[in-house]
């Protein structure tokens, strides 16, 4: 694949990543702000995400809805998303409209506040409350993931780790949010020195950098608050009651287990990613083969590790194939069965064959994912934001290939013990 990658830093601290990939006449514009729900305060959860919505409501020179209008009328697509550690904004445009993306992104980075109004805020608060209803409250099992994080990340003194609350925020906090807090959030976090801008596609790096300087160079940097204070990841684990049974409007009982590992980029994280695959990716994976195929007690099972910065949630979710004769018994049987597999990894590690399968699958997926321009741009912004080095996306497979069976076993032994587990069982409402 033809490629040319550069990274620059403007005098105001904004990092610029440029990646030439001229296969199609398209240009991806991707901005990461290094702020997410972890930077919120208790009682004001959901603010980072609500704020993301406000960034699509116009700025000094862009009318309400003008952002989407300008982009869609030239044949572009745009969106944004909020995560624990970051908020991203992105558009893919016909390559000759690259400058339009720079104009729009710089206008909302530098000149947002004068366009904010109470009316726009009320409208987007309502949209976001509906988003929460749709994704959480009216979703089968919707509240379970939220409760699992609360259990995993609560602290003995009642304080909460910044990953304890959901990115979308609690309904009460959304109701209490106000325009002032949105403005504060912007002034604090939406600074060029807290942003990475990636341009990828059919671009001329030199000309593109010059345009970036014109549009973003004059936006002033500002002081950034220190990262949220948290205990080291090794101290994180459930304290007190770590397992709860929830009732929900569902048919098939389900069990969740979660542990906390070192954050994205660490050796443990890569070992965790391989372990997640060994446990649940493909029909030959341990959990799928035993619980879905052979014993037929699970309808589905998945193990995942989240790519979060401070530390990372490793979770196993398994759904029962039957609710009869007794939903709770079925869920607990399935839960025990998943834990036995975790224990087997802790004592003996994965086999060489399992490790090889997981590696090959990850390599193929890595290769496959590089075809999509917007996805590549997002991963470049990610690597630049977290590690200061966008080229790390090309060396990520090597980090995965380095992981051996002993590392996976060692990780499981240290981090996936019963004393560090948080768990939720979901059963149908009585």
């Amino acid at each position: 694949m033809p490629e040319h990658l550069e990274q620059h830093e403007l005098p105001n601290g904004m990092r610029v990543v440029l990646h030439e990939d001229p296969r199609l006449p398209l240009a991806a514009v991707n901005v990461w702000y290094h702020v997410g729900s972890k930077n919120e305060e208790t009682g004001r959860t959901g603010l980072a995400h609500l704020f993301e919505h406000m960034l699509f409501q116009g700025s000094a020179n862009v009318s309400e809805n003008g952002h989407f209008e300008h982009i869609q009328k030239v044949g572009g697509v745009a969106n944004g998303s909020t995560w624990y550690d970051r908020t991203n904004y992105y558009e893919t445009l016909p390559a000759n409209h690259l400058e339009l993306g720079l104009w729009l992104e710089s206008d909302r980075m530098g000149f947002l506040l004068e366009a904010l109004t109470e009316e726009k805020f009320e409208n987007q608060r309502s949209v976001v409350m509906n988003e929460r209803l749709q994704r959480v409250n009216n979703q089968p099992y919707g509240l379970a993931g939220e409760r699992l994080s609360e259990l995993l990340y609560r602290r003995p003194n009642g304080a909460r780790h910044p990953y304890a609350w959901p990115v979308i925020g609690y309904m009460d906090d959304l109701e209490a949010a106000n325009l002032d807090s949105v403005e504060d959030f912007f002034r604090t976090w939406y600074r060029p020195n807290n942003a990475v801008l990636t341009l990828a596609g059919d671009i001329d790096c030199e000309a593109a950098l010059e345009q970036v300087r014109r549009y973003f160079g004059e936006i002033p940097p500002g002081p950034l608050p220190p990262p949220p204070a948290v205990e080291p990841a090794t101290e994180i684990g459930p304290h007190g009651a770590s397992r709860e049974i929830l009732e929900d409007s569902i048919e098939l009982p389900r069990c969740y287990s979660a542990w906390c590992l070192d954050g994205y980029g660490s050796d443990d994280w890569y070992a965790g990613e391989l372990l997640a695959m060994i446990l649940s990716s493909g029909r030959m994976s341990r959990l799928h083969r035993d619980l879905v195929y052979e014993r037929q007690i699970a309808q589905s099972v998945s193990a995942v590790i989240l790519p979060t910065e401070i530390c990372a949630t490793f979770a196993i979710v398994a759904t029962c194939q039957n609710r009869e004769p007794d939903p709770l018994t079925n869920a607990e049987t399935l839960e025990q069965a998943t834990l036995e597999h975790v224990e087997a990894i802790r004592s003996a590690g994965p086999t060489a064959e399992e490790l090889e399968r997981a590696r090959r699958s990850l390599l193929l997926a890595h290769h496959d994912s590089r075809q999509d321009l917007a996805l590549s741009a997002d991963r470049l912004s990610c690597a630049s934001t977290y590690f200061g080095d966008p080229s790390r996306i090309f060396t990520e497979p090597e980090r995965l290939l380095k992981v051996d069976a002993e590392q996976v076993r060692d990780l499981a032994r240290r981090s996936l013990g019963p004393e560090r587990r948080a768990a939720i069982i979901v059963v149908p409402e009585a």
Binding site: K73, G75, V77, N96, L100, N130, S249, V292, R357, L364
Partner: protein
Amino acid sequence: MTANGQPALDRGRPPVPGPSRSCSFPNFEVEKLESGARLWTLDVSGCGLVTVVLLMPGGSELDTPDRAGLASFTAGLRGAGTKHRDALEFAAAAEDLGTTIATSCGWENAAIGTTIGLEDVAAGLELVAEAAAEPAFLGEEVERRRRRRLAEIERRRSDPAAQARLAFARAVYGDTPYAHPTIGDRNTTEAITREDIASFHGRALAAGSCHLIAVGDLGPGSVRRAIEDTVEPRLLAHGRHFDAAAESLEPEPAPPSGRRVVVVDRPGAAQTELRIGHSGVPRRHPDRVRLQVANSILGGKFMSRLNLTLREKHGYTYGVSSAFHFRRGPGPFVISTAVANEVAGAACRKTVEEVERICAEPPGAAELDDARNYMVGVFPYTLQTIQGLSSRLQTLAVFDLDRDEYDRWPERVRATSAEDVLQVCRRHLSPEGLTITAVGPADELLPQLEGLGTTEVQAAA
């Protein structure tokens, strides 16, 4: 001018674009193999991967009412063991190559496919060919699959979006094939026998109606050779043609006699899922592109009338979209959204008003221009990946479209006038024929929906 010779930056207006670079659909080849199957090849050299899909007859449009779900039941079992390897051996053979063999079933066709590294193409094709031509359908695997399908049918009972799709299709399509979910229901899933499956597969395995679509790093002749070594020998004995039109039921629903409201009661639900629409037009209908332009204006993009009204103006929803689902027969036209319970009635009324408006007056010049530019502009996005390109070729194959379909598409979009939009909306949209399906708490919904149409309340299926 600034010191460096650049004009001073004027933030007050959007920048002027540079010259555009055109983008056309890449070259591809179609040839008839000895077995009668069509081989479609599109070379994307240097990407290191190949994606292969074998399309065969046997889509869900062939399901009969007493065996609803048979097509997808059969399709799923093609990857669950063959004459040469049991289910686990088959899975392991693919996973050892870092991939999986994906079996799927749409309304028109079944498919078996994989994306695989260049060096493993022959091994991947071997597995695809085995699954297509030599599935074992062991009784034990049939039962295993049956239990999972029954559990999935159970799971959907508590999924409001799935309930909404189900109730909408049933209400709009009555006794015709599109009324049933492709998975079938509990009774039909229990009734389907191993013999039904084997016999359905036997009918569908007709090489003369199969398409093998290979996109990626094909290399000079190497993938072609691998196909001749793996797929062809297995297809040669099945060189028949399958006439879907003759075998499938006529999927034409009776026209609605007036607007209808179907409420699926979910007491205590936190939100209401809405599906509003009616039967649409077949994929090969001459009005199709004009309808896509009309739909883009109505609900096909973020800046559509429906989204601007329901989301950006009123804050009723996180999002709303409309679509024509083009199938061999008249697939549905459907508007989909989820709204707060207390505004469900208002959201339905605004939606009906927008359908009425697009049937009453032509769109404005700027609105039409934006929609056409959007549609033409986003076209290259689907050409970025070998899977995206493959999907485009699959559409040509399934619906027997002209091979210059994608070359002519932009000009067809650009040629669509405001009057065209109005005319196709009048022909194919019917505000009075809409079926409004609402899944939520009936006690809250019924008073709000009063007067919108003939109303019936159902329990969750």
